[in-house]
């Protein structure tokens, strides 16, 4: 008698399964190769260094397309890379000398042409590049000789060299041929690694560039995986599937440290978390006392200690941390004083006003939990607040359109960490994120950013911090701390405040 239909069905299905077994068996790589796997939560949408500027995407694209200079966080100074020196010839002219005898992996030479092309392409509206802010002051690029360029700015921009640390160098001919979409799928650069494969939403694989001008990397391949779910990402570390993982479950840290094969390292990042006030709307937030009251009402120390288990650094009454140039060490944070908050609210007549705190979930570490705690604390201090959790797209829209109601939990990082970039993007009235209205601040800011003389500049930048302390643009929360879990076989990993992971330094024991 004929075998039942479903048995036949199962056999067909199982046969198809065996076809997939093949690739699995081929995964037994030759052991001579050193392959490192890094797992992060974000999945890049382009590997073009000028398009997707999220640091997790940059970790990949920066290893392929290097910038002219790097920023050394510990020494707070510029490190030459493809650019060997930078000199300020006059207020608006910068001379950059380039490294000789370097080529892109497709054979094109790295020279002044490549620099001009790379910088100018950021302004291409097709790219919609988020690096625009860093190069918009560059009016003109003069090619003096194949290894010297002059950057002419439209107004004095003392931090220009620092901005250049964000601009990767790309091969002009190749980019022109392929177009930016193809280039974004398989970029080519001068860097220590070359692109091998990119499976969107899953992983990007890069291999060592054996002709790299600094010398070949110690590892042969690096695989950057994107695993959005926190537990799953942590599982990859525990099972040995990943050697380095960013952002673990904080409470699991002790158990990971106890594991003899694993370890944890953390570093305060340049991402600042704060609750932005929308002063562009007609609301009681225009009253300074209300905004100060909110700062008194929130117990940030408790949030950092309990919700983040100490993995956070409280902001000291200003929006930037000490990693930022222009940080004012003399400013003290708002003390936790709910009674004072209550009296300020009474003074301002805001006892019956219902505020709304908008927040997303999963965008920043423990954002939803922090938002819930803040709402609770505000209410406890007599400031009626309700929580509105929005999904990612809606929140971004409201932020970009500056239409969010009252308060918004925000996280901002502006590498390279300079006060003028951060304040320029986040605080000073303008097209970027700012919803702050303060004429005095804007004027002081404009003065500070065009002052080149160091001491005067510092004083002006300090003044900006003082203005914000008194007339807050936000509820100052904390500086995020990035937590990495890694396998002890991994050597050379140095965490960086800008969340950068540099595979060139890594080795596998």
């Amino acid at each position: 008698m004929k075998s039942p239909v479903y048995v036949r069905y199962s056999l067909i299905v199982l046969f198809i399964q065996l076809l997939f077994l093949g690739p699995g068996l081929l995964q037994l790589n030759c052991q001579a190769e050193k392959v490192i796997t890094i797992a992060e939560g974000y999945a890049p949408y382009s590997l073009d260094p000028h398009v997707d500027t999220n640091q997790a995407a940059r970790n990949i694209s920066d290893s392929i397309c290097e910038p002219l200079f790097w920023y050394d966080f510990s020494k707070k100074e510029l490190v030459p890379n493809l650019g060997t020196s930078v000199k300020n010839l006059n207020d608006n002219t910068w001379e950059i000398r380039l490294r000789k005898d370097v080529s892109f992996t497709n054979g094109e030479p790295f020279d002044a042409n490549a620099v001009k092309f790379s910088i100018e392409r950021i302004k291409d509206p097709q790219l919609k590049s988020r690096l625009l802010a860093t190069v918009r002051n560059i009016k003109e690029i003069k090619l003096i000789d194949p290894y010297t360029v002059h950057l002419i700015t439209s107004s004095p921009t003392p931090t220009l060299p620092f901005y250049l640390t964000r601009v990767g160098m790309v091969p002009p001919k190749y980019v022109r041929e392929k177009g930016f979409v193809e280039f974004g799928k398989k970029p080519i650069g001068t860097g220590p690694f070359e692109s091998v494969r990119w499976v969107q939403d899953e992983y990007a694989e890069i291999k060592a560039n054996k002709d790299y001008w600094k010398g070949k990397a110690k590892v042969d391949r690096v695989i950057f995986r994107s695993i959005p779910e926190t537990i799953t990402r942590m599982a990859a570390l525990k099972t040995g599937e990943a050697h380095l993982v960013s952002n673990l479950v904080i409470e699991e840290i002790p158990s990971i440290k106890v594991n003899k094969d694993l370890d944890v390292v953390s570093i305060p990042s340049i991402r600042m978390l704060f609750i932005q006030f929308n002063m562009l709307q007609d609301s009681l937030l225009k009253d300074k006392r209300v905004r100060q009251a909110m700062n008194y009402a929130v117990d940030v120390d408790s949030i950092v200690k309990n919700v983040l288990q100490g993995y956070g650094v409280r902001l000291s009454g200003q929006l930037i941390s000490k990693e930022y140039e222009g940080y004012n060490p003399n400013i003290k944070p708002y003390p936790y004083d709910p009674a004072k908050a209550r009296s300020l609210i009474k003074e301002a007549g805001a006892e019956n006003y219902q505020f709304t705190l908008n927040a997303s979930t999963g965008r920043y570490l423990r954002d939803k939990e922090i938002a819930e705690v803040v709402v609770n604390q505000l209410n406890a201090a007599g400031i009626k607040t309700k929580l509105n959790i929005m999904e990612h797209g809606a929140l971004t829209q409201q932020l970009m359109n500056k239409k969010f109601l009252d308060l918004l939990l925000s996280g901002l990082a502006t590498p390279p960490p300079t006060a003028d970039l951060f304040y320029g993007v986040g605080v000073r009235q303008g097209p970027f994120y700012s919803t702050y209205v303060n004429r005095e601040f804007d004027q002081a800011f404009d003065e500070a950013v065009s002052t080149i003389e160091k001491e005067k500049r510092q004083k002006l930048l300090y003044r900006l911090g003082e203005i914000c302390r008194d007339d807050p643009p936000a509820i100052f929360l904390h500086q995020q701390v990035t937590i990495y879990g890694f396998n002890k076989r991994l050597a050379g990993f140095i965490p960086s405040p800008d969340e950068k992971i540099d595979p060139y330094l890594l080795d596998l024991k």
Partner: protein, 282 residues
Amino acid sequence: MNDLLNNIIKNKKALIGITIMLLVILTALLAPLIAPHDPGDQDVTRRLRPPYFMRGSASYFLGTDALGRDILSRVIFGSRISLLVSLASVMGAGLIGSILGLLSGYYGGKVDSIIMRIVDIQMALPYLILAIVVMAVLKPGLQNVVIVLIVTGWVRYARVARAQTLVVKENEFVTAAVALGAKRSWIVFSEIMPNILIPLVIIASLEIGQMILGEATLSFLGLGVQPPVPTWGGMVADGRDYLSFAWWVPTLPGLAILITVLGINFFGDWVRDSFDPRLRNL
């Protein structure tokens, strides 16, 4: 009535099912009286405490969540919202779906084509995508969760209602009523409706659990009810990062879902078994 009670007691499954359901309903009704703590009472210094049976304190019997709130109290109050959401969406979807299915089956012709076409079109779209798109249009919140669940759920009732109507339509009672010259609308409501009710009620009872899980899925995607409203699904979703470290935070509310769904399923099975004459004598 006596027979009914006897029937229930003899059938263990039914007994368990009804007991659970009564328990859940009572919990929801009496929540403020039986919950040991305020479900919104945060205290971040007592986060993630283990439940009593894991050497935790008795005052936080099921432990505390990521913001220090008592899980037992939140589960108790969560029953209110979870029941509210699931009952409202089941009733909404059930009503809309059943009526449309009934009309479709009874009147046939153009009405039938249009309604069934809409059903086919909606069923060609994975329900979760429809739910997410609608959620992106409306914003996350209790009301909109119910709306989304109704919008995605009504089709399941429509199909069944229509099929059953087609069967009942040929029934003697109906043809007799038609012969007697009864008005169509009267026929629909007094003859057909009661007779298609049973399979629909069975589906509805199964769907209650699915609605609770649907709310959990939406919360997982960040599209659920707004905090601080406690829902079982939301608690599982919110607590999932702590699964390896403090498993009770997402799992105990999940257990509440499981027990409730179990109870409803046992009840639903019993209803079906009792009303299906063919199975009675097995």
